[in-house]
Symmetry: C2
Subunit: 454 residues, 2 copies
């Protein structure tokens, strides 16, 4: 280990950028959920692709595991160094390299965070639309093919990434894609890297598509007396062809947890949060149409708001969900399910999930990106109590089994990581062998983020 | 060869579905462009994935080349069996397997054509948006990551394909993706197969996203006095955030060729064709905004039309471009360039292309999907005259070199095939080796569509 430290120091030439300090190691031992922490042997902070390449060349020669790290907001243990080794923290590679407003694109280093990027883009009237909630790094978001509330309108990370520069396990630097919005030149390696969870390479540069900030944005909140009505209203809005910016469902238990956490008095009923954005002459009419549909489906109260502060307040309950669940269960871990089903299956899937949770007598909040068919059940988990862990994992398994039976996926946006490995083969069968063959081709010694996905 | 015939007959058990008839072989020897034809040894027409799997297992054991074939509308020689062997014609696998209108998705066999699919979808108020011009098969469109006039609004094939069933070189059947609109479960093999030009597997089932037929569609035609103004107007419309359905540029030479071919009298000036679709209250206002922008940029005449027949007439000149060029040069072949550049580079790229063509004293039509930065120069080519071929290929090389210098791609939608192999390494450098490694992993004997891409 001293040898490894010295050799990496020889590459980095900067003792401030290699650490084996216990607090630092501990910070790199876990994500945001219940998975058992594991410390790396040391953490290194490269500043360039050259350094990243040298680190990987070194690690590959010696078969030392390497785990990439952004800000640690992973929900499936992606950044836990399962076999120890080196954690490569990319937070110092945080430059916005080039903004091309006329081309609606930007080149960034992987450690740039979502909010940092949007701050820099604002003066050009542009923004980057993918918003997974956490202020994740762009590199991390590419790694899990993140999405979030805006995806119903703008798509997921795979729809935004035009090109990548990545360092492969053996230290080779490859560039994929380019600056054209479309291409048919050879295999689409960009999309192969998006969602590869740090197991195929470490990103050192990312080219992203951007969007113009819409002229007008309106937010709405529709209250219902049952989760059935809420789901049906969402389905009806999607079917109507409305150009929805966001459409989020939050169940009664979730609003209760938020009220307890924030000392607020939101009406404790299933709620649909909607956002519509675009040009002046379309947005208001579209929101009225959304309201009409909601009322037809049994909506009791529909509020809307154009002022950005008031809009933020309208969304507050939705944004505090995870904190509220955590606060309601001090000292406990969290498990978030992440299934995504075909749109028409969503209302029933949510109902079944609620039934299952009640059957097991546990507490959970259910909310989700209903425009994509993606929803989360967030369950408090007592990681110290093996029986409780087993019970919660069984609920998770049943939620996934239901989604797969309906043609859905075990993970819409969080990735497989450590937590969903058992589900990958249930979902993709023998195709997992093909994924493994590709992994073996790109990383024959298996040094990149071992213990994840497979 | 008799042995191969007998052995394949033993698999297919139907003499009507194996052919070594000369006319049939000849039909499978070429696409729509100037590439030297080459006949296969025989053509086989599977009806199921089981048959496709048995054919590939047989071919792989004996290292016999296999070339997949849809309707033969390829522009880069993809379906020319460069090393002979077996052509697998997928036209009998042409069933629409399942339409799920509530989920906005459909499952089809690869031999379904675009127009066949849209005919079946119409009664559900749905359509499949990718329109490459030719009535290609869905399998062929997946193979080249096709796009076309609608892509500025709806994206390319890679944005539509949710899942695939494919037979690999060794006969293994794999399924990728699923029916959820997004997933982060393992590597995105779907996107790896999209655009792989028949070199990684033969598709046997494709799951596609669908769109609702818009309430209202308006078409517009804007006439300009220079190609500069036309390009600037297109750029200004894109920048304005208008939700454009189509935006196509056609140059003066192209309109001249169309007039000569169709005996029409369209004003022979650079023209922008626009289509905007959506709900009643947005479309008309958006088209007025498009008109305002066009006039600001120097537009002399702006016509628009909502009636579908009149709209078709307005688009007629654009749709007949390829035929017009062919008719103006009887007995000659065609070469179509297909570069795609960052949006801001488009007006200059088109100007440079026009200059280059005039410098070489050849005739060419320039038109393209300016919303994507993708445009085509269609050049008549005398395939019998090596010097002429050389000259045209040099022009092509220079157009590609210019696009690559500006961060663009050598092919926006046609693919590499035989015709652009020389450009792949210019564009992607050492990353091509990584593509080859993946090819070797999936098809170690190199039986699938040899001589294409690499």
């Amino acid at each position: 280990m001293t040898l490894m430290y010295d050799q990496l120091l020889n590459i980095i030439q900067d003792a401030d950028r290699i650490s084996r300090n216990e607090t630092i190691l501990e910070q790199h031992s876990k994500g945001m959920t219940y998975h058992t922490p594991q410390v790396p042997e040391l953490v290194v902070y490269p500043k360039s692709k050259e350094e990243a390449s040298q680190i990987l060349t070194y690690a590959n020669e010696r078969e030392i595991p390497v785990t990439p790290f952004g800000v640690g907001s992973s929900l499936e243990g992606h950044i836990i160094p399962a076999l120890g080794g080196i954690t490569v923290n990319l937070s110092l590679m945080n430059k916005v390299l080039e903004i091309r407003p006329e081309d609606f694109l930007v080149k960034v280093q992987p450690g740039v965070t979502r909010s940092q990027l949007n701050k820099e883009l604002k003066k050009y009237g542009l923004f980057f639309p993918v918003d997974p909630g956490a202020d994740a790094t762009i590199g991390g978001m590419v790694s899990t093919n993140a999405s979030g509330t805006n995806s119903v309108k703008y798509g997921t990370m795979k729809d935004q990434v035009l090109g990548l520069e990545a360092v492969l396990a053996d230290g080779r630097v490859v560039r994929t894609g380019g600056m054209a919005v479309k291409s048919s030149a050879g295999y689409n390696l960009t999309s192969l890297f998006v969602g590869s969870e740090g197991t195929l390479g470490i990103f050192t540069e990312i080219t992203l598509r951007l969007q113009g900030i819409p002229e007008v944005t309106l937010a709405g909140r529709a209250l219902f007396s049952s989760i059935d009505e809420t789901g049906s209203a969402a389905a009806a809005m999607l079917k109507s062809g409305l150009d929805l910016g966001k459409i989020e469902l939050v169940d009664q238990a979730t609003i209760q947890a938020v009220n307890a956490y924030k000392n607020t008095d939101y009406q404790e009923v299933p709620t649909l949060f909607i956002e519509i954005s675009g040009s002046e002459h379309t947005v208001k009419k579209d929101m009225e149409l959304a309201q009409e549909i909601a009322i037809e489906e049994g909506c009791q109260l529909f509020e809307f708001e154009s002022d950005s502060l008031a809009r933020a307040k309208l969304w507050e309950a939705r944004h505090h969900v995870a904190f509220a669940i955590q606060a309601a269960n001090p000292g406990k871990g969290l498990l978030s399910t992440d299934v995504c089903v075909p749109i028409s299956e969503l209302p029933n899937a949510i109902k079944e999930t609620r039934k299952l949770i009640e059957l097991h007598g546990v507490k959970a909040a259910i909310f989700g990106h209903v425009g994509d068919g993606n929803y989360h059940a967030v369950l408090s988990i007592d990681a110290e109590n093996p029986e409780h862990v087993k019970k919660i994992e069984e609920i998770n398994q049943q939620i996934v089994a239901y989604a797969l039976e309906k043609g859905g996926t075990c993970t819409g946006e969080h990735g497989i990581g450590k937590g969903k490995k058992q589900f990958l083969r249930l979902e993709h069968g023998g195709t997992v062998d093909l994924m493994k063959e590709i992994k073996m081709t790109l990383d024959p010694k298996g040094i990149l983020n071992p213990g994840k996905i497979f």
